[in-house]
């Protein structure tokens, strides 16, 4: 009897260890996380719509029904990434996520002059290089310094009513996500 009690006790301690191990390893090994879903849908540096525009389930759980959104993956180990989109929409906001899908930086259209979407994501080391010789392309861009390698940029755009659908869809379709 005492032996069975002892066995159960060891089992419960083991269960505690397994619980902690599974919990901490889950974010690293999940195949259903945002990065994996985006990787299935599109290549790196390719912006893809993630909301359910045609009634299919959304690619990534991120979006309010009154919003359209597009995301692209990038790798700062290669080069800074430059994101631009022409056009005017009532409201847009941008979030930058790390490989695990954690929000590390966000801003909205009030952060820019005239609400134009034009920004560069880069590391501090790359920022030093850019300051030495500012490329012509970057003259109007906002610089976002993040300590990342792999990452995701997500652009959300508000659709106040159905008449705005076309304008916001075009805005998101013209997002250029490029490493220069």
């Amino acid at each position: 009897m005492l032996r069975l009690f002892y066995v159960l006790l060891v089992g419960l301690i083991g269960a505690g260890l397994v619980h902690i191990a599974v919990l901490l390893m889950l974010p690293q090994f999940s195949e259903r996380d945002a990065w994996s879903s985006l990787a299935e849908a599109a290549d790196v540096y390719k912006a893809v719509r993630i909301d359910a525009s045609d009634g299919s389930p959304p690619l990534v759980k991120a979006v309010d029904p009154l919003f359209h959104a597009a995301a692209c993956r990038f790798d700062l180990d290669e080069a800074p990434v430059h994101i631009r989109a022409p056009g005017n929409v009532p409201y847009w906001s941008v979030s930058i996520y790390n490989r695990a899908g954690e929000n590390v930086y966000s801003f909205n259209d009030r952060a820019t002059e005239k609400g134009a979407l034009d920004f560069v994501v880069l590391t501090s080391a790359q920022m030093i290089e850019v300051r030495k010789a500012m490329p012509e392309d970057y003259k109007r861009a906002i610089f976002v310094q993040v300590p990342l390698g792999d990452g995701i940029v997500l652009v959300r755009s508000f659709v106040p009513d159905p008449t705005w659908e076309e304008a916001t869809s075009n805005f998101l379709a013209r997002i250029a996500c490029s490493k220069d």
Partner: protein, 194 residues
Amino acid sequence: MLKTAFLIFVVLAVAIGGGGGSVWYALKANEGVGAVTIGQWTAYPYIGTPDADPYSKARSASEGLLSLGRAEGISFSAQRDSDGEALRRECTYMVEGPVPSARFWTLYAADQAGGVVRGGERRAGALHSHQLIRLADNSVSISAGKHASPGNWLAISGVGPMTLVLTFFDTPIASSTGAADVVLPSIIKAGCDA
């Protein structure tokens, strides 16, 4: 010998089964760590950020969630009315009261899987603050239910439990000043279809 092997098997079964099962249960249960509750509304300001607790991190990884950033907004959800009863789609609710300052906000109903409840044939399933009628003291009164209503109406279709989601965009309450001092509208049941 056989007995020892059996005991080792029991230990391993309890450890792996119990450990894995408890994680699964903890992620399924909706009670989160780090929640901010205001009236019937609950928000998770830290979910999806590097400051989140391990349970929130595991949940957002397994659901593939990309959460709103601090500069974007904050989302509150409610599953119960002011009497503590679960919100149901066959009932009509009045969402009444003051709202905190924000550039704009949206309100919609979600089903249990987090999908948006459709508003019926010709009605969007969501409202936003630019299209609402406000009362004289700048507060709002919204009727959420199946039956069309004068004033502000959030159309809901179907039956079963639902969650109301209220999201504020570009708002100071999402920043570190804390969401706890904010006053949000209350959800009062007006009636149910028999």
